[in-house]
Amino acid sequence: MKCNGSAASAGRIASAICLLALLLPILAIASDRVPKPVIIIDKPGKCVEDIDTMRREHPDMLRHQRDQTMREGIRTRAHSLKECVACHASTKTGSVLGEKGFCQSCHDYASVKIDCFACHASKPKLASGAAP
């Protein structure tokens, strides 16, 4: 009897812990401790690959394209950083950086530093005659 009772209570505690563990991430999100990335896509239309591929593989695509462009002079547009920026720059700030910028918002959330824009332009090319 006694033995059974302790087993049952242990089971209850275990399931409560399991439930809490499952609920924790939901609670954390509900309490807004971690700001979610803001993905604003101003330009409608399809990206060069599907969303899952882009999310998973965009660093490799960019790295591959960069070496081809830099070393061999292959300047196709599909996977080039310049085209990413041209399409994804915010219409408000004109940039992919900034708190709600397309690149920075996600990278801040994932805590991944982007070095690209120390050298590369984070804004698309201005129309000729426009002030920088």
Binding site: R75, A86, A118, C119, A121, P124
Partner: protein
């Protein structure tokens, strides 16, 4: 395969061949209606058959004129930081005077795009490299800023960026801590355009600079090099620069 497809194919083939022939018809010696295979498609790699070069006529280059330097700075987003001694220089005007005769020259000097570039020899990471078509570049992704290339270059063509750069031209990424030099406006060359300095010089009517393929006997630069005396700076080093000077 049916007779129909065969016929369609052969007709298409015939059309393609006749279009190519028509396009290639010489209107006059050296001038073609369509330059066959001159333009490189974006997905095509730079060719080993091509050797890009510059020919600078110092007789036409006016002392004090810096149109090419200004055009280079605008195109490549090089702005004065307020520290002129350490500002990057991709191209500079050099004034020369022969002390015996008193004859003066003025010429722009930039990366000479050597066939055997010492900057590539000394680079410890492989960041400094020569492209198949002879353009010498720095791969900033792997440049560690050690500046060996700056010391190795006999033309003082390379600079290091000391300060943060903002507002870059999307075609010309530049940033602090990397070595850089004239790229022969590779982003323009890849799109069949002339380097900014050459364009500015021609536009201003000086016509002191010609850009083209030294390997193509039909190009203006190759014809001029074959016809008139031109020199390479420090030819004794036998680096075979792609930039040549007339009248030095």
């Amino acid at each position: 395969m049916s007779a129909d497809t065969n016929e369609a194919l052969s007709r298409r083939g015939f059309l393609a061949i006749s279009a190519a022939t028509l396009g290639g018809v010489m209107l006059a010696p050296g001038i073609r209606l369509i330059e066959i295979a001159a333009a490189r498609a974006p997905e095509q790699a730079a060719s080993r058959q091509v050797r890009w070069g510059l020919l600078i006529d110092t007789n036409k280059c006016a002392p004090g004129c810096d149109d090419c330097v200004k055009a280079c700075a605008t195109e490549n987003g090089i702005k004065a930081t307020g520290h002129p001694r350490t500002d990057p220089q991709w191209i500079r005007k050099v004034e020369l005077k022969d002390m015996r005769s008193g004859r003066t020259h003025s010429a722009p000097v930039m990366c000479q795009h050597c066939e055997h570039p010492p900057c590539v020899d000394v680079c410890p990471t492989g960041a400094s490299f020569k492209r198949a078509d002879g353009i010498v570049l720095v791969d900033r992704h792997i440049c560690i800023g050690c500046r060996y290339c700056i010391m190795a270059c006999p033309y003082k063509a390379r600079s290091i960026v000391f300060e943060e750069v903002t507002g870059q031209n999307p075609d010309v990424p530049r940033g602090k801590g990397c070595v850089e030099g004239c790229t022969l406006c590779v982003h323009r060359v890849d799109r069949d355009r002339q380097p900014a300095c050459v364009e500015a010089c021609t536009k201003a009517g000086h016509n002191a600079m010609i850009f083209g393929d030294l390997n193509d006997p039909k190009s203006e630069i190759a014809q001029r090099v074959a016809k008139y005396a031109s020199t390479q700076i420090r030819a004794d080093l036998r680096l075979n620069p792609g930039v040549r000077y007339q009248g030095l």
